[in-house]
Symmetry: C2
DNA sequence: CTACAGTATCTGGTACGCCATAATACGATT
DNA sequence: AATCGTATTATGGCGTACCAGATACTGTAG
C-alpha cells in the first residue's frame, strides 16, 4: 500500500480528551467575555460548571496560564489575565513584524493561488461587515492571516500570532466595531493583496505593518478611553 | 510609611511552588539532553525521579506541551518533541524578525546605557569563548538579546523569543561549537552594537538579521548532516 | 470602635483508586 | 508450525478524598 493512501481509510475517532474539550470551553469563555479580566477562576467552581474533576481543571488552568490568558496570584489562585495597554501595543507590534514578514514572502512567491485565496477571505470580511456580523468579521480576518502564513508554510509564525491574538481578542472585537473600520480595514487589507499581486515584497510588508498599526492605534484609543471609567 | 519603602523589609520567600521547581527541572533535563528527543516521558517514572505526585507531573507535562518541548501522542502519552529542520528554520526566521525589530528600536533610542550594557554582554561572550566554556557562551548570548529587548521595554517579544529558543537549544549548543563561530559570532554581534551606537536603525536591523541567518545556515548544515546518520 | 480570635474559603499538594486502551506474552487450535 | 484469540501488563485519563498553609471574613469582647 502506498504511503499517500494508507491513511485514507483510517477510522476517524473523536480522540479529543476531556481535558481538551474543557480547555476549549474555558478559553472560549474567556475570549468572548463570559469570564471578565480580573475574575477569579475558582477551581472547584469550574469543576462544577464544566462537570469535570479538579485534575482536569487544574491542567486546563496551567495551560491557559502558559498561553497568557490566565494569571496566577501567589496563594490566591488563578484569575483572568488583565490586559494592560503597554502589553497590547507590544502584541500589535509583534504581529506587525510577523505579518509583514509573511506578506513579503507571499509577494515574492508570485503565486496566483495565494492571491485568489486572500481575495476570497477578503470578500468574506466585506460580506460580514455588510451583514453586521462582527463574529464573522473576526473569524474571516483570522482566516485571511491564516492563509497569509500557511501559503508560504510559516505555521510556526502563525502559531505565535494566534497565541498572541487570543490575548487581545476583546480588543479586536472592539476595534472592528469602530466607525469607519468597516471601510478602512478591508481597504488596508486590499493594499496588502494588491502588493502581493504585483510581487512587491516591500510594499506588502509595509501594507501589513500599516494595517496592524492602524488597529493598534484604535485599540490604544479604546483602551485609554475605557480605563478611567473602571 | 511611604509606599516606596514598604516592600523593603519584606522577607524574601522562595515563593516558587513545587510545580514551578519541577517544571524547571524537567525543562532543563530536556534542553540539556538528559531526555533525548523521542524519549517517552512516563508519568509515574517522572514522579519517582522528581519525588512529586502525579498531579504535579501532569501539570508540568501540559505546560511543556504548550511550550512545544513535549509532544503528546494520542493513546501513547507524552514524548520529548522532535525538532525537524523545517521548524528550526522557521524559528530562526522569527527570531530574526523580532531581534531585528528590537535592534532597530535600540538604535533609534540613541542611549549610551544600551550600548554599554550590550558591550558588557558581548565581552562576556568573548571571554566565554576564550575559556572554551560553551554553557557560558549560551547564557551570555541570551543575556545579550535579553538586554536588547528589555532596554526598549519589549518584554513580550522577549518572551516569544525565549519560548522559541528553548525548542532549538540543542541546535544552539551545536552551532556555537562550530569552527570559526567563536570569531564570526561575536563579530556579527559587534556589528549590531556598532550600528546601534551610530543610531543606524536600518543597519542594526540588518545586522541582527544577518546574525541569526548565519546561525540558521549553520544549524541547517548540522541538522541535515546528522539526520541520515539516525 | 478597635483588636483579636475564630472560621470559612481556597489553593497547593498528595495519595489512591478505577477505567480504557495498546502492546505484549502466552496459550490453544487447526 | 503458523495463526488466532486471550490474559496480562503498562500507561494515560480521570475522579475523589484528604491535609496543610495562606488569606479573607466575621463576630465578639474590651
Amino acid at each position: 500500500m502506498s504511503g499517500a493512501l494508507k491513511d485514507a481509510i483510517r477510522v476517524e475517532r473523536p480522540a479529543k480528551t476531556l481535558r481538551e474539550l474543557a480547555l476549549d470551553k474555558v478559553r472560549e469563555a474567556i475570549v468572548n467575555g463570559y469570564f471578565r479580566p480580573g475574575d477569579r477562576l475558582v477551581e472547584r467552581d469550574l469543576c462544577a460548571q464544566l462537570g469535570v474533576s479538579r485534575t482536569v481543571v487544574r491542567e486546563v488552568l496551567r495551560h491557559l496560564e502558559s498561553e497568557g490568558l490566565v494569571a496566577n496570584l501567589p496563594n490566591k489562585g488563578p484569575i483572568v489575565a488583565q490586559l494592560d495597554i503597554e502589553e497590547a501595543k507590544q502584541i500589535y507590534e509583534i504581529r506587525g513584524a510577523l505579518e509583514g514578514m509573511a506578506a513579503r514572502l507571499c509577494a515574492e512567491r508570485r503565486s496566483p493561488e495565494i492571491v485568489a485565496a486572500l481575495e476570497e477571505s477578503l470578500a468574506g470580511i466585506r460580506n460580514s461587515y455588510r451583514d453586521n456580523d462582527m463574529a464573522a468579521v473576526l473569524t474571516n480576518t483570522s482566516s485571511f492571516y491564516h492563509t497569509l502564513f500557511t501559503m508560504v508554510d510559516r505555521n510556526v509564525a502563525w502559531g505565535v500570532v494566534n497565541l498572541l491574538t487570543v490575548r487581545i481578542n476583546h480588543l479586536r472585537s472592539m476595534t472592528i466595531k469602530t466607525e469607519r473600520r468597516g471601510i478602512e480595514g478591508p481597504l488596508q487589507m486590499l493594499k496588502i493583496v494588491d502588493a502581493i499581486r504585483r510581487g512587491d515584497g516591500e510594499g506588502a510588508y509595509r501594507a501589513a505593518m500599516d494595517h496592524v498599526a492602524a488597529a493598534s492605534a484604535i485599540a490604544e484609543a479604546v483602551l485609554s478611553a475605557k480605563k478611567p471609567a473602571d
